[in-house]
């Protein structure tokens, strides 16, 4: 990775966060779904009698859900730029194709980290407790997840090129990923067939790892499995994304 690559990635990153800087409330709007779950659904969990630790179980899942929704829809911002010609203008400049992708992804990761921190702070009002070390580790894992999902979202947007094609594919993949990751209720109470399907969902391992980190269960196997899987997914998605940005018709 040359300094040129980092410089170009930085330039693309700054460009991608400018609209957010002008409109900071969009960060809150982007996390409204997780906020609603936290305030209107989270308290119900306590009535299930999962104990005093229920916030420590629920909030990491909500943070992962924020990461999923925040970055899965990132491709929507690219479609107007494909249509208008702004992306073409950047593609015809000598900037590296990976910087074009990763600069944008970095902007989305920054937004998701801010959202996750806000969510954790708000949860603390309800009684959520987490140490600074575990929180930072948890945020790092979310960032890796965000790279994976964000890069895949941009690659998909470049392939489909129209909102009406992108939106259904997105909701058909994001909703099952979310439901099968056990962010709302523990998958251990699921019937065997549903549990087995959820184990095929890589996101559920990331959610498990996020919970183990926040709870400080350093001996749990998911502590390693989740991050490893996340890094693998991030590498695969980035590879796919860069190839799509390099490809001509895009």
């Amino acid at each position: 990775m040359s300094t040129r690559f980092w410089r170009e990635t930085w330039l693309v990153f700054v460009r991608s966060i400018r609209p957010t800087l002008r409109n900071p409330q969009s960060v809150l709007i982007g996390m409204s779904m997780s906020l609603l779950y936290l305030v209107l659904f989270g308290p119900l969990l306590r009535s299930f009698g999962t104990g005093d630790s229920s916030w420590e179980w629920f909030v990491p899942g909500m943070m992962a859900q924020t990461a999923l929704f925040g970055t899965a829809y990132a491709g929507f911002a690219l479609i107007p730029e494909i249509r208008s010609g702004a992306l073409e203008r950047m593609r015809v400049s000598p900037v590296s194709r990976s910087a074009l992708l990763l600069g944008r992804v970095a902007g989305d990761v920054l937004r998701l980290v801010i959202q996750a921190v806000l969510l954790a702070l708000l949860a603390m009002v309800f009684g959520f407790r987490v140490g600074i070390g575990p929180l930072l580790l948890g945020l790092a894992l979310l960032a890796v997840l965000g790279v994976a999902i964000g890069a895949a979202s941009y690659a998909l947007a470049l392939k489909l090129r129209q909102e009406y094609a992108f939106a259904p594919v997105l909701s058909m993949s994001v909703m099952p990923l979310m439901l099968l990751s056990g962010v709302l209720l523990p998958m251990t109470i699921a019937p065997a067939w549903l549990y087995d399907i959820s184990r095929a969902n890589p996101l559920s391992y990331v959610v498990d790892a996020e919970r183990a980190m926040v709870a400080g269960q350093w001996s749990a196997p998911s502590i390693w499995l989740g991050p490893l899987l996340g890094i693998l997914l991030a590498l695969l998605a980035t590879g796919w994304g860069v190839r799509t940005f390099r490809r001509e018709a895009a």
Binding site: L11, R15, G85, A86, E88, R91, V92, S93, P94, E248
Partner: protein, 314 residues
């Protein structure tokens, strides 16, 4: 500046292979202002996108601004300017930010990029718009920003893809002035596509006509018109029968036609033929009431070459 040989591009649509561009050879010398003219779907934009690295040719090769298109696309990108059909500025970005960013993408330092953005804004009358979001600009303002973004790194070769499409006449005149300036004031070689006859005619030193994926003719606007169609001469006369006999004797006269008081015919270089013909009509005591010559339009040229009018082809 551009040398392309056998440039070909196939698209696969619904399992069928369609050749959009078939074996195009191009030679453009430094300092030329060349128009690439043809109806929609003729292969203009596909050719341009190949030359600017946005599409990989199916076969063929090209050197663009001294770099090999196939082995060094990054070298081509660094050397050329490109103004596409769309708008280069991001709609939710500020005009000034985009100008500076593109300067930096071409390797300028932050202070240099700021300086260049100011100069470009000055040249393209964008100074008052630097703090505005691109989405709030008018069509003509967006187009000026597109050109500024495309040429701010001072490329020696500039490609423009249908630059005036959708502009009002006043913005179009302004745009033409800027395009001429690229060559006349900055010495750039300019290669533009258009399906407007008057645009190619007004701007270009040389026109290359493409139809159905292949080049069908090239030359200066005047050469093309002379070669293919010839001027249309209209005479209002007292005695069309005697006049048409005299006109028919002019070397190269074709398409002779008469009405009750006019004679029309086509002839290469009507402007040089007319004085002699007028003297002969005078000698034959045919009274001439009106004289008009019409230079052939590029539409006539296109019709002569392809059997279709450019307007119906589009």
């Amino acid at each position: 500046m551009i040398k392309a040989r056998g440039l070909t591009r196939d698209f696969v649509a619904r399992g069928r292979t369609v050749a959009a561009v078939r074996g195009v050879d191009l030679d453009v010398a430094a300092g030329e202002l060349v128009g690439f003219l043809g109806p929609n779907g003729a292969g203009k934009t596909t050719t341009l996108r190949m030359l600017t690295t946005l599409l990989t040719p199916t076969s063929g090769e090209a050197f663009v601004a001294g770099a090999d298109l196939l082995t060094d696309p990054a070298g081509v990108r660094a050397r050329i300017g490109y103004v596409g059909q769309g708008n280069g500025g991001g709609l939710d970005q500020k005009v000034g930010d985009e100008l500076i960013l593109h300067g930096r993408l071409y390797g300028l330092s932050a202070p240099d990029a700021k300086q260049r953005a100011r100069e470009m804004a000055e040249t393209f009358e964008l100074t008052d718009l630097l703090g505005r979001l691109v989405i709030t600009l008018s069509g003509g303002q967006k187009r000026r920003l597109d050109i500024a973004l495309g040429v701010l790194h001072r490329p020696s070769l500039v490609f423009l893809d249908e630059p005036s499409t959708g502009l009002d006449p006043q913005s179009r005149d302004n745009l033409w002035r800027h395009i001429r300036d690229l060559r006349d004031a900055h010495g750039a070689t300019v290669f533009l596509t258009t399906h407007y006859l008057d645009e190619a005619d007004a701007l270009c030193d040389r026109i290359i006509i493409i139809d159905d994926g292949g080049i069908v003719a090239e030359g200066s606007p005047d050469e093309l018109k002379r070669r293919v169609a010839g001027d249309l001469v209209e005479l209002g006369v007292s005695d069309p029968d005697r006049a048409v006999a005299l006109a028919g004797a002019v070397s190269g006269a074709t398409e002779l036609d008469t009405t009750a008081d006019t004679v029309t015919f086509r002839v290469p270089r009507g402007d040089t033929v007319l004085p002699g013909l007028l003297r002969e009509l005078d000698r034959a005591q045919v009274r001439v009431d009106a004289v008009a010559t019409h230079r052939p339009t590029l539409d006539d040229v296109f019709l002569g070459l392809t059997g279709r009018s450019l307007r119906e082809a589009a």
